[in-house]
Subunit: 408 residues, 2 copies
Amino acid sequence: MANIAVLGYGTVGSGVYEVIKRNQAIVSRNAGEEVNIKRVLDLRDFPGDPVEEVLTHDFNDILNDEDISVVVEVMGGVEPAYTFVKGCLEAGKSVCTSNKALVAAKGPELIRIAREKDINFFFEASVGGGIPIIRALNLCLTADDIEEISGILNGTTNYMMTKMADEGWEFEEALKTAQDLGYAERNPEADIDGWDACRKIAILTSLYTGKNTDYEKVYTEGITKISAKDIKYAKELGLRIKLIAESQKTEEGLVAMVAPIMLKKSHPLYNVDDVLNAVYVRGNVLGPAMFFGSGAGKLPTASAVVSDVIAAVKNKSNVMVEWDDEDLELSSVGSVKRSFFVRVSGSEAEKLPGIRELFGEVSTVTAPGVTGEFGFVTGIMSEKEFNKGYDKLDGAITRIRVDNREEL
Amino acid sequence: MANIAVLGYGTVGSGVYEVIKRNQAIVSRNAGEEVNIKRVLDLRDFPGDPVEEVLTHDFNDILNDEDISVVVEVMGGVEPAYTFVKGCLEAGKSVCTSNKALVAAKGPELIRIAREKDINFFFEASVGGGIPIIRALNLCLTADDIEEISGILNGTTNYMMTKMADEGWEFEEALKTAQDLGYAERNPEADIDGWDACRKIAILTSLYTGKNTDYEKVYTEGITKISAKDIKYAKELGLRIKLIAESQKTEEGLVAMVAPIMLKKSHPLYNVDDVLNAVYVRGNVLGPAMFFGSGAGKLPTASAVVSDVIAAVKNKSNVMVEWDDEDLELSSVGSVKRSFFVRVSGSEAEKLPGIRELFGEVSTVTAPGVTGEFGFVTGIMSEKEFNKGYDKLDGAITRIRVDNREEL
């Protein structure tokens, strides 16, 4: 029998408890022995909840219990999670976490301690919720030189972008509904400013390169500037705007970024709507692959955490994860080549000659009910090259990147 | 250094050779040591090909070479592959194969020998080519009670169905083009009669249930009866016909089957076109997930084989795979509930009252240019219930299953 402890009895923690109880036979069969929740740590009390039997308010009840071999950390935030997780690993207990803030900030150190102690630090649920993208990178796509990862990694903003596209809502309306439905926090900055997606793409980039990606160096643009007018233009162009977290090898080096991008219908991420997440991966021999599913939510996230618990129980020694302390050098987003959509005030007749001088041939577009301005889409050019023109453009309102590559 | 051998230098075998040479540094880093191809077995000679240096015509050169720890089998067919693979496993060499015929026929025995010898028998490339669906089931979705797996698992027939839908081609034209492009064999029965997809869904079903699924007991219907007229009706209904291999838990037990099914636009497999493969999985806590990518082709398949080689080099002892000798009991397809599309000769005015007596309320449809007949779609009912009515239906031309579930 393997005894485990759960740090935090919030949404994910209670989900982990529920999944282990509900799927007890399957979990134990796959782990090779019975999995028993011996302790749950939370500062709160839960009168009448069966968790009471194993509830503790004192972390030392877990740290000092030699029977507990695997600890689940689902508290969120860097502290006190970091202190607790480090303590558990140093005490020889494997740790499974869903905490992307912790993994993005302290991943390489915690992985190193686990390796030294010959135990495991797993974090499948930290990216993509129930989608097994971390094991896919660590254990499956190992024969490939990964050329690109692009993902819809934040369910809240994807819900908002879907509603703005399908219902014509403005940003504020979409945000309020997402908050009312419990998708977005009352302080929604981590989602709408792109920082959640940024931490996740940093984690994936670290894993496929084997070097540490500092998430603070990842170029990050949120969705706060996207308006109902932008969506109208996108519709006219047959495109959909999604908050994309991407990491790709360019001629000048590796670029990681988060930004709203217009996708064409044939793009694998075009149809990924509502709170769903998806990750598109391109390998040099595999070609394109996509992983798609519930990126958040109590039970899907708990499903991923429990699959980590099963792996931690099954693997009595360290399963090597390549993620060194050494920082990965990121290239500037200026080197990425694509098209750009631009909105500009004034009339085509008046502006187009100047636009052609700046960007070469462009295609123009107008949106129903939007007056006093028009839009255009450039050919494929580097972002650096585009910015040179955009800085000189008189009457520019906004610009959105466009992924219109032929080959995906 | 890990020495490996490759049995068969055909399409996949030469792909494995190419991937290991091309991605040497990545393959060796992920394996934890250098991976060296010491021997390649083929009856043919390849004058001028670098493989000549390691080519042998004698299997004993591999079997008796104690330096060779991992053997790749990519010959296809049950014999002599079975004899060779069994010999290698008994000699203590791990085996990685892309051979679905071998795995479907002899899987549990070969898995048992590998377990007894504390080595590994891996077969990621046997289903879904480059899509890592086997590791996903074995290592990732381990916390879930899997309720359903539905897949597009045969690239040739998916190419044909896509062309029939997009170009209006008849079956024969689609088949001939698939043959000209090298997708379909000159004897295409394994593809078009559904037997290839049948073996693959049997393998996936064995893995998620842990019991042996006899592929000969899987209800299998190919695409040979699908005509351009059927496609016209599907278009009118906003549906797409795909050859679906599925395995699901019904109230009466587990049903596995292969058949053309009409999918609605919101179905995750609706947009999977051309030679692509995809697998949709629904777990009781994970909810829906989908895996999508190149299901065939030299390099994607080789990518999956080489990821197995890396796992075999890395794991010096047996990685448990649950797939017992014990046969899984399959329930009749009669218990599956869904809608059915039916074409019937005659006019609506004349036939509809009788149809309603047999099937209850139905919705009717006509297709442009198709005269002397019409179509209708039933409500959701069990296949058994549907067949009772269909057997009595006067002037029935054909029927195709429809997946129009609300929740997926």
